[in-house]
């Protein structure tokens, strides 16, 4: 009797699983679910919750009160420009020095040693770099001493607790990141393309201008975006090496201040969302500009 009852259902179920399998869903696909649910719960949900929270100000005053507050207080909205003034030059400098060095290093035999050395500041992180730079670049540190010994300066220059310190720390931490991304894009370009251009009479500069640069364009745009968003979210070095109440009061400090010092999570989330929005706007502008560039394979045909 039971068998009789189940028989009609069985083919139905088989058909459903077959239909799903035809679209690519089967048991193997389900392996994805735990990770997806986890990221949904701890990334997508917090993002939505943060947005909701920011629209429910702690002190009342309408859904947009936090945003109105932020954009009507120069001390707060200036952090956007302070951060941009730091992040854009840092990213450009890192990118501009990465390109020639990556082009030079790509054929080098000891490439791996260099990348290993350069990965060290990334690993040590900004906090340790900041403490090291406080010692090293401080008025009594080795850097000022060497400059004075060489007679370049006569009294120590102020490099820490200022814009310069944060800027330099962003280069120490950001250049290796940029360099390795650019290096991986550069090594992806088929070297025979350059040989081919040389055989057709193109000198080093023409090869760079007509072959390397166009093929690298999209990669450079992506590198710029990735490096920019990191630089825009600078926090520890802006606090430790900079002047967190003055010239390096970056937007992350404003967000942290609201959430952890004024215990206003609603305002903190609003600032975090403004921070994300500025990042997205810059990234979209760069990607829009780079969509005019060639994007496609960077190898020279088959083989």
């Amino acid at each position: 009797m039971q068998g009789m009852a189940l028989t009609p259902a069985a083919p139905e179920r088989a058909r459903l699983s077959q239909r799903l399998a035809r679209r690519g869903f089967d048991v193997t696909t389900l392996l994805l679910l735990p990770a997806l649910l986890f990221v949904m719960a701890l990334f997508v949900y917090p993002a939505i919750y943060g947005l909701w929270l920011s629209l429910h100000p702690m002190n009342g005053g309408g859904a947009l009160a936090n945003y109105i507050n932020f954009f009507s207080d120069a001390y707060k909205y200036d952090t956007i420009f302070t951060t941009l003034k730091l992040a854009i030059p840092v990213t450009l400098v890192n990118l501009l020095i990465s390109v020639p060095i990556a082009l030079r290093v790509r054929h080098m035999r000891y490439q791996r040693i260099l990348t290993t050395i350069l990965i060290i500041p990334v690993t040590l992180g900004t906090v340790l770099t900041a403490q090291g730079m406080l010692n090293y670049l401080g008025p009594l540190g080795w850097f000022n001493r060497v400059l004075m010994l060489l007679g370049i300066i006569h009294e120590p220059v102020r490099l820490v607790h200022d814009f310069t310190g944060v800027f330099l720390s962003q280069i120490v931490g950001g250049f290796p990141f940029c360099f390795m991304l650019v290096l991986s894009y550069v090594t992806g370009i088929d070297p025979s393309l350059e040989s081919a251009a040389a055989m057709l009479g193109a000198g080093p500069f023409a090869r760079f201008r007509h072959i390397i640069l166009p093929l690298l364009g999209a990669g450079l745009a992506i590198t710029f975006c990735l490096a920019f968003v990191q630089a825009f979210a600078v926090f520890p070095s802006a606090v430790l090496l900079g002047a967190p109440s003055g010239p390096t009061r970056v937007i992350a400090i404003a967000a942290f201040h609201a959430a952890y010092e004024e215990y206003d999570y609603s305002m903190g989330s609003a600032v975090a969302i403004i921070m994300g929005a500025v990042q997205i706007i810059v990234v979209m502008l760069v990607m829009k500009a780079s969509s005019l560039l060639y994007r496609g394979p960077v190898a020279g045909g088959k083989g």
Binding site: D190, S192, L193, S195, A196, A197, A198, M199, L200, G201, A202, G203, A206, H210, I211, P214, L215, Y294, G296, P297, V298, A299, G300, G301, K302, G303
Partner: protein, 355 residues
């Protein structure tokens, strides 16, 4: 306006060497290439033929010797200063430029007026029959078409010399035959000299005016296709040129270049290609020349046979265990006993010892 190679008389390589990491990648290559000549550099992989081509192109520096274009020494010039054309094995088409832009690249580098560039590119496109695809990107066309673009790009600058690095190795068999004819047609039309690197002796035989056989960085033989086919100068060249039966033999008697020798249990006649001072010699025979006949001196039994349309190709073994590749007009079966023989002038004899 027609595309035609710049005028020059000859390209001379004098003792061209390249040592790399304590190894001689190239040893004393000397060769004179006349205008309009088609030279094939033939050899197995790792023989130095691509190194030789890259040295000529200027992509690798020489470590000795010199290269001359008529009276001008060019081996110290950078690749972009030599003005040669080159077709790369993977074509190396610029993926971000249309076919038209790819072909015109060299002309733009020469800063020619736009009308001249346009006219020449148009002509080159017509020459390789790609006018309709001119505005596509290289990624959008087939391998054979990419190949033709690579050739057009190399010849449109009217180079005295075109270098080709195994240009057909990425194509399928049918396309390879078509492109062979195409390359020769374009070469004749332009009047340039071509140096063509390949490991395929059929390709070299059918395309080249002269073939240079390289082995371990050394020139083993230079000659016309016929010379190489009929009379390879060394046993290793013979083996490479399709002399599949390379047998150890003992010389019995000499009569000028003719000699009789023992191979296994049989006595056969052959002609010496190089001096054979000792008794130990090497006999080389093409399978095509070794056929069954009642008077054949070598007794053997068939191991396997393969039908090839017009005739049979087979492998036979002598009682002493020698294995011989042969051709037969009539059907042979495994296990069948037969007698094999080759005309004395088609049995080439080399000094023994090595093989």
């Amino acid at each position: 306006m027609t595309i035609s190679a710049k005028n020059f008389r000859e390209l001379r390589l004098e003792g061209m060497r390249r040592d790399f990491g304590g190894m001689n990648a190239l040893k004393d290559i000397s060769l004179t290439v006349r205008r309009g000549e088609f030279i094939a550099l033939l050899g197995p992989s790792g023989c130095g033929k691509s190194t030789a081509l890259n040295c000529l192109a200027g992509l690798l520096p020489l470590t000795g010797g010199s290269i001359w274009l008529d009276e001008t020494r060019i081996d110290h010039l950078k690749p972009e200063e030599r003005g040669f054309g080159m077709v790369f094995q993977n074509y190396a088409l610029f993926p971000h430029m249309s076919l038209r832009k790819n072909i015109g690249f060299g002309l733009r580098m020469q800063k020619l007026p736009r009308e001249v560039i346009d006219a020449k590119v148009e002509e080159a496109l017509a020459l390789v029959r790609l006018t309709k695809q001119a505005d596509k990107l290289p990624g959008q066309i087939s391998g054979g078409q990419q190949q033709r673009v690579a050739i057009a790009r190399a010849i449109v600058v009217e180079p005295p010399l075109v270098l080709m690095d195994e240009p057909l190795s990425n194509l399928d068999a049918k396309l390879r035959l078509e492109m062979r004819a195409e390359i020769r047609r374009i070469h004749n039309m332009i009047g340039c000299s071509t140096i063509y690197v390949t490991h395929d002796q059929d390709e070299a035989l059918s395309l080249a005016d002269r073939i240079v056989v390289l082995r371990e960085g050394e020139m083993r033989q230079v000659g016309t296709p016929h010379e190489l086919y009929a009379r390879p100068a060394h046993a290793d060249v013979a083996e490479f040129m399709g002399y599949r039966n390379i047998l150890k033999a003992q010389a019995q008697s000499h009569d000028g270049a003719r000699l009789r020798m023992r191979v296994g249990g049989a006595e056969i006649a052959g002609c010496a290609i190089e001096a054979t001072p000792g008794r130990d010699v090497i006999a080389a025979m093409r399978p095509e020349d070794l056929t069954p006949s009642d008077s054949g001196p070598i007794a053997a039994s068939v191991v396997s046979a393969e039908y090839r349309g017009r005739d049979f190709y087979g492998l036979a073994r002598t009682p002493e265990g020698l294995e011989l590749w042969f051709r037969s007009d009539i059907a042979v079966r495994p296990g069948e006993a037969l007698r094999l023989g080759a005309p004395a002038e088609r049995v080439l004899v080399y000094a023994g010892g090595a093989a």
